[in-house]
Symmetry: C2
Subunit: 355 residues, 2 copies
DNA sequence: GTGAAAGCGCTAACAC
DNA sequence: GTGTTAGCGCTTTCAC
């Protein structure tokens, strides 16, 4: 019988035994070297590494996972959109995951898909990830009742309260309410009597957070809380809302739940003859790349996506690797209000500006 | 000896033998059921499924991968940016990958990272993916010489000529030159003597493609090819280029390699007193969500990201599953020019349109 | 410091 | 239609 007998091992990738044989050591020693385990002499280590190099050896991850029970991978559930927020978060997550030596598995949810989130999480669990990050979840049911997912690995939920049951549940980036608060206060401090709000779709936690922050800022100063307009994050929905706002002379300041909607809103306002910021001030949210270059340059809130992702992932990985230890505490995200040219004092009540 | 002997199998996940035992069949039959193999009676199938359900059984992917030599996963290399193009492509890819029953592993490259692409591909290979898609690659070296990667699984390169050596190399979405051609022709047909170009960073294949398409359109009609400005995809770089163009009265039409730069460029033009589109026409590329709502609404080229991703992936999966068969042919992507309000005839020489 | 042996939970071949 | 027998290439005990 030739060694080629059995399931085709002809022309197959080299295994650790092959490396061991070439280096003149046992297979276990090869394993030790590749896992950076102690108790390997420098000489042996070098020999093994050299042999591996020569053979073009690379560890078989499936075998590793099977034997160790860990896949060294983190799964992430994102929205199936190229929206700036979710996309930025995903990029931030990838960077950190790779830095920590884990692999990233991605699953999207599609808006409107009934079993979206749970289906996505399930498919990740099928793949055997060691931890899961859920980015920007949406309430699928509307009533957030018995939807609670059951997961048996640590979970990090970005920008939201946890809709899951898991051994460890972490949250990060849930400071949107604070940021909305700051944005609203900025408008108030300019002299506006109150601030209107163009909210995001209320099925999104992020949208609800921002609305809550806006409302809190208003009530904290005893201002009236005007009725809320709701968009779908798109510039088109901002445009539609803008047409309605334009017809109402009492509107002098609008806080939008994201930049796209703010841009659509400004366009509608402008077309209706209401100048921004002279007649109406507008604040966005996200600081998308073009925000500084639209007309007028948009005052907005910048989300520290990278910092949030990094901090959250660090805690998730910690939880994955130390199942029994206490989870790391969360750090508050810095609030970053970028004041540009879309906000100004109101036309009358404010300072005696040029008319 | 209790069954708990050996490495801790206490409280562990149920295995297929457990299901088999409960269903009163052999382990192999369970495997058959879960792989949708033929030759299982309806009765047995039901029993197995029921037993699995009861136990909360889910297949161990690592074991599957180890035994079968296939991971059923596709790796994708993307840029570590939230740029609309790459982000959209990634979303499109995820959708198709999941539909075809594969898992998605993602690795980013960071601009400026020396070993970016090859490092990313390597990490994917380490993970043992069955196929790789490289999205929007950049020439790391500048001279695209000996950088050629050697990969042992099929590869799909999006929007570019293949920088790799692999058993199968597919390309998709490499129709950017055609689209740039169309955009340029649109401007020419409006009566402009020639069209200037604000290119993307030339290390990007996509940027080079668009430049080539623009140049081809110009030379096809015997027009002079003006010097090219180069940006970095950002609105800021568009703004900088816009200031230079504004100082040159002969510029009446500019084709930008993406929408962000076009928006920055328009802002610079406007600030300099050059009206868009009356004095200068501008065309973008991508059709980002806010393109229709900026001032003026942007004429742009829409890339069919979803269609491209879908078609490309279908071919990649085919290649993965039929290593010996001929690769599927590529279909040409449809060109989609969205004409909005940022383009018009030139101030003088144009056709006698309504004044 | 190093090695031998025993699985991890599945799929692949073949027998029945 | 179904079961039996071998591995897949590692990590994990435990012995030396």
């Amino acid at each position: 019988m030739t060694p080629e007998t059995g399931r085709g091992r002809s022309s197959a990738a080299p295994r650790s035994v092959d490396v061991a044989r070439l280096a003149g050591v046992s297979q276990k020693t090869v394993s030790r070297v590749f896992n950076d385990e102690p108790y390997v002499s420098e000489d042996v280590r070098r020999r093994v590494l050299h042999a591996a190099e020569q053979l073009g050896y690379r560890r078989n991850n499936a075998a590793r996972a099977l034997a160790s029970g860990r896949t060294r991978s983190i799964g992430v559930v994102t929205l199936g959109t190229a929206l700036y927020g979710p996309a930025s978060l995903l990029m931030g997550v990838e960077r950190v995951v790779r830095d920590t030596g884990y692999a990233l598995r991605v699953v999207n949810t599609v808006e409107g898909d009934p079993a979206g989130l749970s289906g996505a999480v399930d498919s990740l669990l099928d793949q055997g990830v060691d931890g899961i990050v859920i980015s920007e979840p949406i309430d699928e049911t509307g009533d957030g009742a018995d939807t609670s997912l059951r997961v048996d690995v640590p979970v990090l939920v970005m920008g939201a309260p946890p809709p899951v049951t898991a051994p460890v549940v972490l949250t990060a980036g849930d400071g949107a309410d604070l940021m909305a608060h700051t944005a609203t206060e900025h408008l108030l401090s300019l002299g506006h009597a109150t601030v209107h709000h163009l909210a995001g779709p209320q099925r999104w936690y992020a949208a609800r957070d921002r609305l809550a922050g806006w409302r809190a800022a208003l009530t904290a100063q005893g201002r009236t809380v005007p009725p809320v307009a709701e968009g779908d994050w798109s510039a088109g929905s901002g445009y539609a809302a803008g047409r309605r706002f334009a017809a109402d002379d009492t509107v002098t300041a609008v806080f939008c739940a994201n930049d796209d909607m703010a841009i659509g809103l400004i366009r509608a306002l402008t077309e209706a003859g209401r100048r921004v910021p002279e007649d109406v001030s507008v604040v966005g949210f996200d600081d998308i790349p073009v925000a500084a270059y639209v007309t007028p340059p948009l005052t907005t809130v910048r989300q520290p996506f990278d910092a949030v992702a990094q901090e959250g992932l660090k805690r998730l990985v910690h939880a994955v690797e130390n199942p029994t230890a206490d989870p790391l505490p969360a750090g508050g995200p810095p609030v970053d209000l970028i004041v540009r040219a879309s906000t100004a004092p109101p036309p009358d009540g404010g300072a005696p500006t040029t008319d």
